[in-house]
């Protein structure tokens, strides 16, 4: 399968406070790839690294089959980027910013840009400094989409937007993807939002990539199990235990949160004399929270 973005063993350090540690990820071409993580996890840093804005201390990065940062110019002609915070010139009007931006892109779609101005309800004569956060967010998306990019990189595109604007933004993205077989890389900490339309998901925390899976596999793989007569030690378990605790704090019934669960693994419990009473699906948000909880040192140290 072709990869739109590939990071291999990428590390980057900013003083003593923060570091990306040996991050490897691969975004399949044509996918909608959700990049999840709490604030400060390293999502924006990862994006800035593969957008060529910063140089990694080690590791290799390829975007759309080309090397970063060597082929950055040709990569950026094919990438639409919506940054985390509004990065457009405040003294320009919408029309001026569009004119400025369009001058850098050969594939600029003027007709579609005008269509988007209408559908996103943006006034071309409005000064950017007088626009709300939602309007600026829509403008950034319009700029990125009108380039007709093969890869759309959205860094927290709906953060802080009201529900109506958020819907407008996501609808515009989905319309584009349905029309063009573009890859979308969308970073967010709003988990439920990504659940609806992403087909791949990666979770990052504290500068490390915790997991990268097809969405369905991620959702199906994380389960809440109710176990009767659970064994003391579960070192031999064929799945990863993210958390275990007594169900409601009474009796011998335990609740286990596990990753990598498949129904045939029931044999494990039979072999240790335990009984699986119940298997429940977790939604993406619950799975995400449990994954983060299990990966943090306080949890690993039993804190």
């Amino acid at each position: 399968m072709n990869k739109a973005i590939e990071l291999n063993g990428v590390s980057w350090k900013a003083g003593r406070s923060f570091a990306l540690k040996d991050v490897s990820l691969s975004v399949p071409a044509g996918s909608i790839y959700g990049f999840l993580g709490p604030n400060g996890a390293g999502k924006t840093t990862t994006i800035r690294l593969f957008m060529g804005m910063m140089k990694p201390d080690s590791g290799h990065i390829r975007v759309l089959g080309r090397d970063v940062p060597r082929d950055m110019k040709s990569i950026l002609t094919r990438v639409g980027y919506v940054p985390e915070r509004p990065h457009v010139y405040p003294a320009l009007t919408v029309a001026e910013q569009v004119r400025y931006h369009s001058s850098f892109y050969k594939n600029w779609d003027e007709g579609w840009c005008n269509e988007l101005l209408g559908s996103l309800r943006l006034d071309p004569e409005r000064k950017i400094s007088r626009m709300s956060k939602g309007e600026t967010g829509k403008l950034l998306l319009l700029l990125a989409l009108s380039q007709r990019p093969e890869l759309l990189v959205l860094d927290e595109p709906t953060d802080g937007l009201d529900p109506v604007v958020r819907r407008d933004v996501l609808t515009a993205v989905l319309d584009y993807v349905s029309e063009v077989s573009a890859t979308v890389f969308i970073s967010s900490h709003l988990v439920h939002e990504l659940e609806r339309f992403c087909d791949w998901v990666a979770v990052m925390d504290d500068g490390q990539l915790l997991v990268e899976l097809p969405m369905q596999q991620f959702k199906n793989g994380i389960k809440r199990l109710h176990i009767a007569d659970a064994p003391e030690s579960a070192d031999e378990a064929p799945f990863t235990i993210l958390d275990r605790h007594r169900a409601n704090g009474i009796g011998s019934l335990e609740t286990w949160i596990v990753r990598g669960w498949e129904p045939p693994m029931q044999y494990y419990f039979d072999s240790v004399g335990a009984t699986v009473r119940n298997v429940m699906d977790l939604d993406l948000e619950e799975g995400f929270v449990e994954l983060l909880r299990s990966s943090r040192p306080s949890h690993k140290n039993g804190g």
Partner: protein, 228 residues
């Protein structure tokens, strides 16, 4: 690409640049103020001396104004990019050198505007006085020197402002260290070494920079609108 970049820089700087253009136009008129406007009148050598003396008063204002314009253009070139942490600029599909050259070029073209204003002002001023036979007006030469001085100060500030605050502080630190160490060398080592007693390296450097063929000679050279 160049035209939108030019438009962007113009929008950034126009509120400061327009008054500076007005000042550039007005300065030559101030030089000739009160010099007399009677056409065809024979004027004496004494009057020529007085005219020269009067015009001397305004000379320092030309390089100063050129410096202010250059600094304004240089600082404004990067102002918005710094505010946006360069994220937007770096996401555009062009090499950093290309982006920098486009920006530099836009500012250089804007530097023409005050120079043209001064050129027009110089011609209006020259036409408004009757000079003694010994004296001539040089509005073209003055405007050209003015343009070069703007370009030089613009290029310096553009370069310094392009870097981070840390880089700018480092450059300033090196300059200050050179001045301090140069003077210390003259003061302390001058007692033991005749070379340092005779030579102040700071003075030598300043003299070289400010006089031909030094790059800053454009500021210290002949700025007269009216000369023999």
């Amino acid at each position: 690409m160049y035209q939108p970049m030019l438009h962007l820089h113009w929008k950034q700087v126009r509120l400061a640049l327009i008054p500076l253009m007005v000042a550039s136009f007005g300065l030559p008129l101030l030089v000739v103020q009160g010099m007399g406007t009677v056409p065809g009148l024979e004027r004496s050598t004494l009057e020529a001396y007085l005219i020269m003396s009067q015009s001397q008063f305004w000379l320092p204002f030309f390089p100063a104004l050129a410096g202010v314009i250059g600094v304004t253009l240089g600082l404004s070139a990067w102002n918005w990019d710094h505010q946006l942490n360069h994220v937007y600029a770096l996401s555009l599909p062009l090499r950093r050198t290309e982006y920098t050259m486009l920006k530099m070029g836009a500012g250089a073209l804007l530097a023409v505007l005050p120079a043209v204003a001064l050129w027009v002002g110089g011609h209006v001023a020259a036409a408004s006085v009757t000079l003694p036979a010994e004296l001539h007006a040089y509005p073209n030469e003055l405007a050209f020197r003015f343009f070069l001085a703007i370009l030089l100060s613009y290029a310096l500030l553009f370069t310094m402002a392009a870097g981070t605050v840390k880089t700018t502080l480092r450059i300033c630190g090196v300059l200050v260290a050179f001045i301090v160490l140069g003077n210390i060398a003259t003061g302390v080592l001058g007692e033991y070494y005749t070379f340092f007693a005779r030579t102040n390296v700071v003075e030598v450097a300043v003299t070289w920079l400010m006089n031909a063929p030094g790059p800053f000679e454009v500021f210290t050279g002949n700025w007269t609108l009216i000369d023999v």
